[in-house]
Symmetry: C2
Subunit: 321 residues, 2 copies
């Protein structure tokens, strides 16, 4: 690892897969050089369209992602795929092992595929994912597909890092009501009922539409999420999905929402980095002993936790790094 | 809500259920008066034994909790029950609705039962749970049972707020390997194979023991989690469970681990309150506009997120509240 950062970033921008991989590994490991990496990449980022895909296990996220990659590649676009598993501390391995359908793309220079686990680092994937996206964006991807595994709050958060979020459902499993309970309907910009050749596809589509009509009254210029049907394993409906994604992007741009979403995401990212820095500083106070000493006084009943927190905050705001 | 805080705290300490309920509602709502509540309670806290119960849905957590309440009550102890649902923004309702077995205790003055959801407030349940525990502890409970729903990182975190954590399993469902994957075995101080009259109980016990023997080599004075069998619905084995809990508590005290655990928990709690305060201060910087302005510069490619975070940290550490 002797090459200097500007050099690795330059090669990543020229499309060198190994350099992109090294930069994402730095993100995963929260490497100290990340600061320089992000400084070098930021001026070149902001071009890619970020599409999130989420849904319960078994709805066909990987198959749909692979079908989207094929379609975008036919159109000559450079594509990044980031598969994120919030529940796994590991990267690679299991996740990509499943993806037989993705294999045809692994030898294509215009496609960059990567899976990422949390590795348990500070701030987790909500901290790491925006930075990994900036690597793929800065490396020249036109589209980045972010696929998350499972349904839960973490998945919802990661999906919402996208410009456009696709919520996948399949007939007879992970039905719309379950999805509503998990909170994933709130992040949907496009619904995709996959495996639409199976029994129950009509019911799934109807349930989603009913659920939407139950929502709060929307302003007249609001986006109404379309419901697309696909059989991703045969490529059916993928063109409809691509068109729905393009329509949402157009709406984001014309309504000014694209910039607003990106600003909100950047604000979250900057705040997360700042909070991590402040936490580190809390840990450093008085050689790492202040917090433990305060905790001891709380346990002894001599100090309440709010007063103890005041002392920590005072320590952070008076100390100079 | 006119009564002043010292008065509500005093009545809660005298065992008035409505006052305890009001204090926990303040915790749930992150009420501004919490600071005063915790200051008034802290000198009286630290007496209760905190027992966490976790495990997959259907293993019988509520039934086991109810059976433990009965046993502790027969022994004349005051018992608190905190049922926490990390996946739900709501409190009460659904969770307690299920607990037919708990109903016999709802008219007993020596038992305080409460369920709590996250209500989406800052910091979530990892922030709120220690404070709710302090309310029950300060209000004079001898034992507080913290029951969490589901298995996931949040449940593990909440269970680990206890002095002793019981991991429940049942034959033929949520087997030990699943539990291991979810990370719940790492927090177990006591295993309880519930529904032990069903087929597969021996296999479940054997799997747990095998899993433990696969673990890393432990120091000679380490605690080896016992595996208890219960049929909680008939009260069978509950006395064994109570004895296992008592044995673990004795070990915690004699080994000095009780104090260490409590200090570590207090440190987490104090840090969480401090980080929340620092976040609030980040939000307040320059009338709430600094973060948005920095985010705009990041989106425009004029500033990288680390440099933006530096500006936030500098703002926080130079501003006086």
């Amino acid at each position: 690892m002797s090459a200097d950062i500007p050099d690795v970033v330059r090669r990543a921008r020229e499309g060198d897969h190994r350099s992109v991989a090294r930069l994402i590994t730095m993100v995963e490991n929260a490497a100290p050089q990340l600061r320089d990496v992000m400084a070098a990449l930021t001026p070149h980022a902001g071009h890619a369209t970020i599409v999130g895909l989420t849904g319960a296990p078994g709805v066909g996220k990987s198959t749909t992602t692979a079908a989207l990659v094929s379609a975008y590649r036919s159109d000559g676009q450079r594509v990044g795929v980031l598969a994120v598993d919030p529940s796994s501390p590991f990267s690679g391995g299991a996740l990509l092992g499943d993806r037989v359908r993705m294999q045809e793309h692994t030898t294509d220079d215009g496609v960059y595929i990567r899976s990422m686990g949390s590795r348990g680092h500070l701030g987790g994937l909500a901290w790491a994912t925006p930075q990994a996206l900036r690597v793929l964006d800065g490396a020249g991807c036109d589209v980045v597909l972010v696929e998350t595994v499972g349904v839960g709050q973490a998945e919802v958060e990661i999906a919402s890092l996208a410009d456009t979020t696709v919520v996948l459902l399949a007939p007879g499993m992970g039905d719309a009501i379950q999805a509503a309970k998990a909170g994933i309907l709130e992040v949907a910009d496009v619904y995709d009922v996959n495996k639409a050749d199976r029994d129950g596809a009509d019911i799934a589509v109807r349930d989603i539409k009913q659920m939407m009509s139950l929502g709060e009254r929307q302003p007249p210029d609001a986006w109404r999420p379309p419901v697309v049907r696909t059989v991703a394993s045969r490529g059916e409906g993928i063109q409809d999905l691509i068109e729905a994604l393009a329509a949402h992007r157009k709406w984001l741009q014309s309504s000014g929402r694209l910039d607003a979403r990106r600003r909100a995401r950047a604000a979250d990212e900057v705040e997360a980095i700042a909070v991590t820095a402040l936490r580190t500083r809390i840990g450093d106070l008085r050689g790492g002993e202040l917090l433990d000493e305060l905790a001891g006084r709380v346990v002894a009943g001599a100090l309440d936790p709010y007063a103890a927190a005041d002392e920590l905050v005072a320590g952070v705001t008076s100390s100079r790094p």
